[in-house]
């Protein structure tokens, strides 16, 4: 399915929020369990990994919800010597990550009207690499977290 799908851990879940905690647990554990070798990531980077993956899967669930797509969401996680790569694949409507609206300045009163819109920024800030491939048939987000 993807260039990663031949290695590491894979997880397929229904597109509902109840499974987010499970995804974080699996990815966090996989990052700590590279088949006997020790983890490339310290606990802080594992926490970052859990957060960015959670953001990506949340977006995948939201995107499929928008168009009522009940397809399951695919997550795979490959652990290398000094980094972890996670891919999240959905069948939502797709989007252009380069034309997302900006949030108002954080100290203005208008900012409080925005309860969303922080996920992609968090992914970009915490990942060493965040690649989005998106089209009308769905989105693949590939996140790389290196040891700090």
């Amino acid at each position: 399915m993807t260039e990663l799908s031949g290695q590491g851990i894979e997880l397929v879940i229904p597109p509902t929020p109840e499974f987010l905690q499970l995804v974080r647990a699996v990815v966090g554990a996989a990052a700590g369990l590279s088949g006997g070798a020790s983890s490339p990531l310290d606990p802080g980077r594992v926490a970052d990994l859990r957060l960015v993956v959670s953001e990506a899967v949340t977006n995948a669930i939201e995107a499929q919800g928008l168009i009522g797509a009940s397809d399951r969401i695919f997550i795979c996680c490959r652990v290398a010597d000094d980094h972890v790569v996670v891919e999240v694949v959905d069948h939502g409507p797709g989007f252009d990550p380069d034309s997302l609206p900006e949030l108002p300045d954080v100290e203005t009163p208008e900012r409080l009207h925005y309860e969303s819109g922080l996920g992609v920024a968090l992914m970009r800030r915490l990942s060493d690499e965040a690649v989005v491939e998106s089209g009308p048939r769905g989105t693949t987000v590939r996140l790389t977290i290196r040891s700090s």
Partner: protein, 123 residues
């Protein structure tokens, strides 16, 4: 539901503070699955006339952008009713997520409920 929200009237704890205050202690993961419970809890307190909510996040194991969104929404709701929201959060990992999104410039993140309330009284 992945979170639990416990409530405690402030009037019950100390008579020095706003009697229309309440502490909401959140336990669990504040993500897309847990956020609705907290949102509902805040809506209910405001509807019941409470104007000061102390959000105690020390027992939160995980927070993401959806969880942050609920905290932002709670502040807006309280302010629009002339009230206020105080956030208590001792765990560096959770504080770090607020900071990453510059939300520490919107909320003071207090170490414990007592500190939050005493700073408010001093202000």
């Amino acid at each position: 539901m992945q979170i639990h929200v416990h409530r405690r009237d402030l009037s019950w704890t100390t008579s020095d503070v706003d009697p229309a205050g309440v502490v909401l202690t959140v336990l669990g993961d504040l993500d897309m699955a847990g956020a609705p419970s907290l949102r509902q809890a805040v809506v209910a307190e405001v509807a019941n006339g409470f104007r000061l909510v102390v959000l105690e996040l020390t027992g939160v194991d995980f927070i993401d952008s959806v969880g942050l969104g609920v905290v932002v929404g709670a502040l807006r709701r309280l302010r629009s009713h002339g009230g206020d929201l105080l956030v208590v959060c001792a765990e560096p990992r959770i504080r770090g997520v607020f900071e990453l999104c510059d939300l520490d410039r919107v909320f003071d993140l207090h170490i414990d409920v007592e500190t939050a309330l005493s700073k408010r009284l001093a202000a």
